[in-house]
């Protein structure tokens, strides 16, 4: 692969369909793919997830939730519930000792509803009992007197001045206004369309769980599956009215997250019950409760318009995006930020008008999910780009390449893209990848409908779709985004051992492997122990926004450098040479010409060298409230997909036969884990395009189960060809670029485009259901 814009290019290929050999793991430094340190525990069933936690004398907590999307609570009677044998506590809003409010950006959500419930499933009361069934039975005996209120469940209606207010003063969470270039641009070719995106669920497999253990100092220790220990701790402390030193959190095994664990779930509830009963309390949601227990991806209603020259060169773009935030703010503000500032895609557009809105409704709260505002917008800008290509008679890939961003361009907020932006190259790569073999009707498992035996080839048309998208990495718009790492180096049993301690959540993505790789690389040691993740070290920031390898990786690197400097300083004193002339190489101190001067063991003796570093990424800035202009983001990550689908156009059933992708990751710290992120992220995007939707009618969730909320099975996912580019970002540690989210953003629009190509139907809403294709 040739370099782009002067960057040394490195391409890595993986074609997995014939792989039978295990990956080469190398020495476990960056660029290798060492085995996960938790892999053996996970395949033997010994890894302790939050729902596996157990404690002597433990009791079980359950939550009573509102059946109404909007109601006033006239009274709660817990008398009967308290009489159930085996019940230890029944709690309501009156039992919340601190602020009865939490929230990621605004503390607007009650720990337990007091006066109003604002969505179906809102927690109202808690029970602790010695068996979960006892607790469930007791919860059913709590009498809540609801006065049902009119619910606002259409986000468009929520914007009306006369709509009932979900919160005071009104239902608008954020209006992001972005204007750039001419006020009323004109263009010879204009295309405009409306789009809708349904509500997607993270559907992590490990339901929300935690164990709260009351401590002798009157505080509480909480073991919980989460994405960000310190933001949890801050909110729990406020609700409990306790100082941080009394509320200690430890990350337990996390069964996936994808944004759905950024907000609190069992956290405060389990602590309240533990403190009240004086016993350890475990709370563990079932699948149905999980659908009510976390925020979802915002559904979107969008209107887009592109104006272009007759050759397809964009003159202007306009978008109007409305995101349904549901009953509480969660991270709606930031999701609107992304849908607005990034929502026109990775294109050069001189004139822009964007209005992105987030509103309150009485629907389920929506917040973070992989792709965060970019996913919804991508369905719109990519479909409209195809429309424009067809209108001007230019090939669909070519029009994207023609308009694609390049390094040095300004994006729509006026920010200069100051590292690689290989839009055209990514598209070229996916276009040039081998196509899947033609339809083979001999095995129904390979056909749309599979063993459902709905076609033997009849009605099947093939379609191809392309998509290219981009996303910010890390937190934006002026947020002080950082991570903390503590690294300790010592000799144990004659061997150098590094211990790395961060609070950054491992949720399955492989951060712990990356932390080890960085320590090995920087310190030259083989053995690296990953300390349990807890709040006894500073914040690691959120495991979201594709940011941990960048930010916590940066922190670990910086802490290692500090440790190395301290070791060399010690060596310098002992050896009588300036530290600047010394290097740490393996477990040796060497001089300028590589001569070994001392062993690490000699320098350290029985001492440990430990350094803690708080590492911040480059500052970002708020955008101008009137124009939306500003350097809002720290880094951008680009990816492209090509989807090939076989569609039974008569029945509207789809089989994705290829989902191939190219992505620039800056530097693959762990190439195997990079592929894992790309495969899994692509599957989630495909799921939204074809099947995944929480169906909400009048504020009621109608499919809170894995029977009716469908995620892709292994028969739905095609083999993938993945090409990874490594154009180092000179501003990022090791040149890394966030990996996790881009594939979720570009895969769905490519699948939708391929289905449109096969069916020749407009299909402006995702997920595309069979009846949308058949028109019935």
């Amino acid at each position: 692969m040739s370099g782009q814009n002067g960057h040394p290019g490195r391409a890595m290929t993986d074609s997995t369909t014939t792989t039978v050999a295990p990956p080469v793991t190398g020495s476990g430094r960056i660029g290798d793919s060492p085995l996960r340190p938790d892999g053996t525990l996970k395949v033997t069933g010994e890894f302790a997830y939050a729902s596996d936690l157990w404690h002597d004398e433990m009791c079980w907590g359950v939550t009573l939730r509102s059946p109404h999307p909007h109601a006033r609570i006239a009274g709660i009677d817990i008398t009967e519930a308290l009489t159930v044998p085996g019940v230890w506590a029944v709690l309501t809003a009156d039992d919340v000792p601190g602020d009865n409010a939490f929230g990621l950006e605004h503390a607007d959500q009650p720990v337990l509803a007091s006066e109003f419930v604002r969505y179906e499933g809102e927690p109202v009361a808690l029970v602790a009992a010695d068996h979960p069934e006892t607790a469930r039975r007791a919860a059913k005996k709590i009498r809540v007197d609801y006065e049902v209120l009119p619910a606002v469940t259409d986000p468009r209606r929520a914007m009306d001045p006369d709509a009932p207010a979900v919160h005071r003063p009104g239902n608008l969470v954020r209006h992001l206004k972005l204007r750039r270039g001419e006020v009323d641009p004109v263009a010879p070719v204009v295309v405009s369309l409306d789009f809708e995106v349904g509500m997607q669920d993270q559907a992590f497999l490990g339901p929300e769980s935690g164990l709260a253990v009351p401590a002798e100092d009157g505080g509480v220790d909480l073991y919980v599956a989460t994405q960000w220990l310190h933001v949890d701790q801050r909110q729990i402390c406020l609700a409990l009215g306790m100082p941080t030193e009394k509320v200690r959190l430890t990350l337990s095994g996390v069964g996936g997250a994808f944004g759905g664990r950024e907000d609190l779930s069992v956290h405060v509830h389990a602590c309240l019950l533990a403190l009240r009963t004086g016993k350890p309390v475990k709370m563990s949601y079932g699948r149905e409760e999980s659908f009510f227990g976390h925020v979802h991806r915002h559904p979107a209603v969008m209107h887009y318009e592109f104006g272009a020259e007759t050759d397809g060169t964009l003159v202007y773009a306009k978008s109007d995006v409305l995101l349904d935030g549901g009953a509480y703010a969660s991270s709606t503000n930031a999701v609107v930020g992304n849908a607005g500032t990034l929502g026109l895609g990775p294109y050069r557009i001189p004139n822009v008008a964007v209005d992105a809105y987030g509103v309150f409704t009485n629907n389920p709260p929506c917040g973070a999910m992989r792709g965060f505002g970019c996913v919804q917008a991508a369905f719109a800008h990519e479909a409209l780009m195809d429309e424009l290509a067809d209108a001007v008679g230019v090939d669909r890939v070519e029009i994207r390449q023609r308009n694609g961003m390049r390094e040095g361009d300004r994006n729509i907020t006026g920010q200069i893209i100051d590292s690689a932006a290989p839009v055209a190259e990514l598209l070229q790569i996916v276009r040039d990848l081998p196509m899947p073999p033609p339809l083979d009707p001999s095995d129904i498992r390979a056909l749309p409908g599979a063993v459902g035996n709905t076609t033997h080839g009849e009605g099947v048309r093939r379609g191809i779709g392309y998509s290219v998208t981009y996303k910010n990495v890390g937190f934006s718009e002026g947020f002080d985004d950082y991570s903390t790492a503590r690294v300790r180096l010592e000799m144990t049993g004659g061997e150098a051992v590094a211990t790395v301690h961060t609070a950054a959540a491992e949720v399955g993505q492989g951060l712990i492997t990356v932390e080890q790789q960085i320590c090995r690389t920087e310190l030259g040691v083989e053995r690296v122990v990953v300390h349990p993740k807890n709040t006894s070290v500073g914040s690691g920031g959120s495991t979201s926004a594709s940011r941990q390898t960048y930010v916590t990786g940066g922190a670990v690197k910086a802490a290692c450098e500090a440790v190395r400097a301290a070791v060399l300083e010690r060596a310098s004193m002992g050896l009588g040479r300036p530290a600047a002339d010394l290097r740490l190489d393996g477990e040796k101190i060497v001089g300028t010409s590589g001569e070994v001067l001392a062993s690490l063991g000699e320098v350290l003796g029985d001492d440990a060298v430990e350094e803690t570093v708080e590492w911040h990424h480059r500052p970002t800035h708020a955008i101008d409230p009137e124009t939306g202009q500003g350097d809002a983001h720290v880094q951008f990550a680009f990816s492209a997909h090509r989807a090939v689908v076989d569609v039974d156009v008569e029945l509207g059933l789809v089989k994705v036969v290829a989902l191939d992708t190219a992505q620039d990751v800056g530097r693959a710290i762990n190439p195997d884990a990079v592929l894992g992120q790309i495969h899994g992220g692509s599957a989630q995007g495909m799921g939204l395009a074809l099947m995944e939707e929480i169906i909400v009618t009048d504020g009621h969730v109608r499919n809170p189960s894995f029977t009716d909320y469908l995620i892709p099975t292994i028969l739905d996912m095609p083999p993938m060809q993945v090409k990874v580019l490594e154009y180092a970002d000179p501003h990022a540690p090791y040149g890394v670029r966030g990996v996790g989210e881009p594939p979720t953003i570009s895969s769905g629009p490519a699948v939708a485009a391929a289905v449109r190509d096969a069916t020749k139907k407009p299909l402006r809403r995702v997920p595309i259901r069979p009846e949308h294709i058949t028109g019935t």
Partner: protein, 156 residues
């Protein structure tokens, strides 16, 4: 209710079982075997797959009493002491494990598949594992792992 069953070769008895409990609950909360996972409790994800009398089943859908006197093998019972079963080994080596919540169920399902079909085609693997949802991997590396395990098991 008392439930006595042979789990991973050892007979175990537990008392005071509520008859509405599933085998999954009994294994996880009463017998100290949390390997089988509780992801959906409706047979739609396969995370709780265990062997019951030699057949892979969803432990969440077996009533505790139905397991009385039966042979249960869980993911905890597949390794030979410290030595991983080839299927487990392949899952680790191929990167088929991310969050790992689906892994115990997939390992048991793949173990069963390879015991019945030593060299499955990709479509056979896909049909056999279609009852095991994974949200992290997109299944690519799971297929790799099953292929690798099949290759290794084929060697004498």
């Amino acid at each position: 209710m008392r439930v006595t069953t042979t789990v991973n070769g050892t007979e175990q008895s537990v008392d005071d079982v509520w008859p509405g409990e599933s085998l999954l609950y009994v294994l996880r909360e009463r017998m100290g075997l949390p390997g089988a996972k509780n992801a959906c409790e409706q047979g739609e994800c396969g995370s709780c797959t265990v062997y019951l009398d030699g057949e892979p089943v969803c432990a969440c859908l077996v009533a505790a009493g139905q397991a009385i006197g039966r042979e249960v093998v869980t993911v905890e019972g597949l390794a030979d002491g410290e030595r991983l079963h080839p299927v487990q080994e392949a899952f680790v080596e191929c990167g088929a494990v991310q969050c790992g919540f689906c892994t115990p169920g997939l390992v048991v399902a793949a173990h069963d598949l390879l015991a019945r079909v030593p060299s499955p085609s990709d479509l056979e693997i896909r049909e056999a594992l279609a009852g095991n949802l994974c949200r992290c991997t997109g299944y690519e590396k799971i297929l790799d792992a099953v292929r690798l395990a099949a290759t290794r098991q084929a060697r004498p």
